[in-house]
Amino acid sequence: MSGLLYKNFRINRSSLIFALIIQVLCCAVILLVCFFQGGKPFEEEGANTAVFIFSLLYFLGSWLPAMATSEIFRTDEGKTACSFAMSLPAGAKGHVESKYYFILIENIIILFIGFITDTLTFAMTGGTVSMTIFIMFVFCWRMMISSVEIPFMIRFGSQRGMSIKGAVVGIILMLGWLWFLFGDIWFILDSEDPIAAFMEFMQSGDIAFWLSLFPYVSIIMYYLSCRISVKLYRKGAETYEQ
């Protein structure tokens, strides 16, 4: 397994570096904002705006690298590469699992950079801004999206896999939009500080329970996705071009 992992790191070096640069840049912007704040705590309204902007940056830092996931699979898409992978002692299982481990490690490194930034931000803003839970949710969200897209990439190739991921994200966004249009969100719209009202809503009542299930669901989905992908790999390999 370590050999296959090493191979993945060698082949996907550029996409990994790209992911890290994006995350480091986003985190650097966050730290710069806090630095120019002069080490003073944010006022309540300022803190809410900072939370909103920082969440966008953390999301961007984690989301842009996800665009490169297809590259991890494209490099090995071909009958020769697949035959070689299946002839190795670890077989198709090891080959597919190594890709999952690679993506997991990449996400963990991104999470770690976010965590360090958040700890520093917390100190620099006098404890008024902490995004740790949000960073964890972004990590889980990426795991969940990966667990949906990878089996399709393995079965139908990276191009179609990307399209399916796009469709899944589109559906989720559409559901969010529908909720925004027709949902019971008067408490956000009527509020003087909509961001604060939204934050309060997320932390209150039964929604905390359903939100708390999200990390567990994403981990289970990632594991199941890996099992499914191992099963699909042989069929997918038959459809790859030479």
């Binding site: 520093l120 404890g127 960073i135 990590f139 039964d206 905390a208 329970f209 359903w210 708390s212």
Partner: protein, 305 residues
Amino acid sequence: MNSDKKLTARRLLIFLAVAFVPFYIIIPVMWAYFGEPIFASENETVMIATSVVGVFGMMIPSFANLITRLVTKEGFGSSYLGLNCKGKMGYYIASVLVPLGYSVLSVLVMWALYMGGMSFSDAFEPLGMQNTGLFLMQLAFSVIVFFPAFGEEWGWRGYMMPKLMELMPKPAAVIAGGVIWGLWHAPLTVAGHNFGVDYPGYPFVGIGLMCVMCTVLNAFLTLITEKTKSVYPAAFCHAVNNNLGFGVLFSGLGTEKAQEKMTEMSGVSTILPYIAILGAVGIASFVLLVRDKDKKEAARQKEAA
């Protein structure tokens, strides 16, 4: 002492020097700067500073591991960084369930011992959907706490313990490792971490208790690390232990009345039930570790015969 053991001892000393020095300098400097025991302070700025020092400080042992391997040209063989979960999943599951179990049990024992006739429903909030959600969220939060926990574990269990076990028998290594780990916490304990500063016998009783706590926890952590030959189960256990320890559970689930009663007591007496239960886990782990060695020796003798 043969040359191999001498080399191991030298590496261990370098590791310990790199691991110990930062805390023994930073904490007194911060104490002098803020003018009070920093971990017992109620000043918000000091509290923030201590939380940041705590997070980065926990990564020092990993840093020491890295530095020692590079300086002594040891390389990264047997670095305990592999997952090795095949056939060892039980240990991974235990690494989350055992700390959860002893924390919950400690809270219950604390209620039975210290709540003086307060009924369960008076002492604890009802476990509705929201509280369950908060509990699950806190557990999931261990993913983040994993980083600092890994920072400690890769140093103590991933470097110090294997070296100690090379130098001395397993039982002695577990005790020595626990005491060293406890003494590493000494500057924090003196500055009020875990027990505060207002207890009889301060700070020596606190340092002693920390050494006892670290020794019993070390037995369990060493057991799961040695069984899996991986440092991750120990890091998971440490993360859950820190993130959902009995103190966090009590402050999350205890009613205001119960928490007021706890605040009236000294930090040392509230932690005693926790140490007792942790002690039972430690003794069981200790026995399993030693028995494992006996089994291996018996198998070796049988093979030789």
